[in-house]
Amino acid sequence: MSVQEQHTAGPPARASLINDPKVRGLFYQILLVSALVALGYFIVTNTLANLERQNIASGWDFLSTTAGFGIIQALAPYSETSSYGQALFIGFLNTVLVAVIGIIFATIIGFIVGVARLSNNWVISRLAYCYIELLRNIPLLLQIFFWYFAVLRAVPGKRDKWSFFFNSFHLNITGLRGPKPVFAPSAEFVGFALILGIVLTVIVARWARKRQEATGQQFPMFRTGVGLILGLPILTYFVVGMPISLDFPVFVETGPILRRGFQLGTGFNVIPEFLALTAALSLYTATFIAEIVRAGIQAVSHGQTEAAHALGIRPGPTLRLVVIPQAMRVIIPPLTSQYLNLTKNSSLAVAIAFPDLVSVGGTVLNQTGQAIEIIAIWMVVYLSLSLITSAFMNWYNQRMALVER
């Protein structure tokens, strides 16, 4: 008792404040915050002074001023009298277009090459290996230049063309031309039929899965789905009297030399900048996707394949039903970052003057001098595109993730 009393009587032996981890932590954090605030203050005061000295306006008023420059590919109505805000929006749409198309092509090529890389056929796997090692070790910008300046400048000139696919697609220096669908008023029924087909397919697929789980009976889902999604719109198309026609590009080969070539406003035109950019982006990103796919498939233990073969499943369904679903869990996270890379790399469009967000923004920046606002728009757009893509892929990843029973 007395011993204990002696101990509690005196003040508790505490370490000095300097050595208390909590106090130290607080001190360092306060230090960091004040350093950041000081840096921010330094930057803001300097910027304000510089802007005033150089007579650069600040604020967002410039967005409603007339742009005065044309854009070679606009997905929404745009003319030279439109505002800077509209121009930037057109650029944003082009960025999204390139990113989406690039992601689709890169995924398809990447999966094919990744599987080819694992092929038992020596020629095929070597070919895939060479493709991967060759393209992923060359800078993307160089590849864009190659496609744009070396390949697409070597095609026939304005008054000439190369034709392929039964003379319906043409390539020359003005880009890729093809037939354009023209919709008559009753074409919307075909659209409704397509939506109906998709909805019906989803319903039937759910019913079929439930029935298979309950009774073990299989349902020819693939054929039914194709029939519903393709058949219904085609049927409607003929029933309502063929409302969709194709507008073929008109090519004039005779007559005055200046009138020769493709006629304005006929057919569908893909500009060469877009072709070069998507070709380079998808071929470059596909090499990384191929390596991811290969690693993913290799991560699935070989026992799974052997077990599937032992059950009598043929190689094709083995890959589709056993290996790929398990490989997807390994593939998706790195695939997400490749999609993000492709989206960010689409900003290299500025090098060949394809009007994406960065390219249009650069023009606006040169005209108005409002660097801070433009760069802020870029950063916000790319950051939100990144966040949206990774949110979507996280959702998909959760669906594919291993569900332990």
Partner: protein, 384 residues
């Protein structure tokens, strides 16, 4: 008895017959790997056709029909050379010094050569795991070499005495700029990346938050906007009169950008270190920085050497982007040489791009091989 005839006991081994010709050697290999089934045979034929349709024109372009010597465009014109003309290597030869040194003054080029030589001499033993004197080598490479290289490349003047004449950075170009940006970017981003990685794993909420925001911000935006930012916005942030060199501004942008990627690589290494290492260090009474500097980081950094090399490959390829903000790296130099009328021929751009592709490919492929080699070397004991 008659029974004895019914037994036959072989006393010597049967002669070993060679395996059937169709299963061994080249033919057997081809049967197994190329023509095992009809679809496989079709695939093989398609593959060979694809390979042939790419390789044949390439060899024709780069070697057979290429022009190797000449003094101006006449040598490479189809009309003068007669018929189809392949790569115009004479043009690359004439421009070679520019592609390597930019417009660096001819009488000062030896300085660049010294820097290249020092770089190789210091880097090769550092990269070889078995070479001795790693610590001295690393100090020389990371601290002494940058200072010496800086003075060698930019010049050294004491008051009025000129030891090395000043060479302004706008005349630098070609491979020199590519290497300066890539190497400086990676070396400078390493310490920053380590700090950020430690910050992201810190228990202090504000430090952690600041690190996470910094890393995710730079990783979320394209490098090209970062370059625009450093070349257009950075001058606005500085007080009046303080002017940064264009190269320096680009270097700042590249360093901040790659520091974020480096931080994620280092974080991976930190996470791979078992908890016992931290606890052991704490049990020994080491302070935070002692624990990190003496126990954790040496192990973690060694683990992530392949990741660092891969980041470097990415950065090396990305240095080509500086041509968009008006600097002349290797690709920019080649691109700008196309405007020279003395060499303008139909295949000039093809030859230039092919040369650039070969240079970049050799660097990047070599580094990726090295990264794979180190990965194998470091992954001991966990092989499956």
């Amino acid at each position: 008895m008659a029974n004895a005839d019914m037994f036959h006991i072989r006393t010597e081994e049967a002669p070993v017959m060679p395996a059937p010709v169709s299963t061994t050697g080249v033919i057997g290999w081809m049967r197994q790997n190329l023509f095992s089934s009809i679809p496989n045979t079709i695939l093989t034929i398609i593959g060979i056709l694809i390979a042939y349709s790419i390789i044949e024109p390439f060899i024709k372009f780069a070697f057979v029909d290429a022009i190797w010597t000449g003094t101006d465009r006449k040598a490479c014109l189809p009309a003068e050379a007669g018929g189809y003309v392949g790569a115009c290597w004479a043009y690359v030869e004439a421009y070679f010094p520019q592609f390597i040194y930019g417009r660096y003054p001819v009488e000062e080029i030896y300085r660049v050569n010294i820097v290249y030589a020092m770089f190789v001499v210091l880097l090769v033993p550092l990269a070889m795991p078995s070479a001795p004197f790693k610590a001295i080598n690393a100090v020389l490479f990371l601290f002494v070499f940058p200072i010496v290289a800086y003075f060698l490349l930019t010049g050294l003047v004491f008051g009025d005495t000129v030891i090395l004449p000043i060479v302004e950075t706008p005349v630098w170009g070609g491979l020199l700029v590519t290497l300066v940006i890539a190497v400086t970017g990676i070396v400078a981003s390493l310490p920053l990346g380590i700090l950020l990685a430690l910050g992201r794993r810190s228990k202090m909420p504000i430090v952690k938050l600041v690190s996470v925001i910094f890393i995710e911000f730079w990783r979320g935006v394209p490098l090209i906007t970062v370059l625009f930012m450093s070349s257009v916005m950075l001058p606005l942030f500085l007080p009046e009169g303080v002017v940064f060199d264009k190269l320096l501004r680009v270097l700042i942008g590249v360093t901040l950008f790659s520091a974020a990627y480096m931080a994620e690589v280092v974080r991976g290494g930190l996470q791979a270190i078992p908890k016992g290492q931290y606890e052991g260090a704490m049990a020994l009474g080491l302070r935070f920085w002692q624990m990190m500097g003496l126990i954790i980081l040496p192990q973690a950094l060694k683990l992530v050497i392949p990741g660092i090399v891969n980041t470097f490959i990415g950065l090396f390829k990305d240095t080509t982007l500086v041509l968009i903000v008006g600097m002349y790296d290797l690709l920019g130099q080649i691109q700008s040489s196309f405007s020279d009328p003395t060499w303008s021929t139909p295949t000039q751009s093809h030859s230039g791009y092919l040369f650039a592709a070969m240079v970049f490919w050799c660097f990047c492929f070599g580094m990726s091989r090295y990264s794979i080699f180190m990965e194998k070397k470091l992954h001991t004991g966990h092989k499956r």
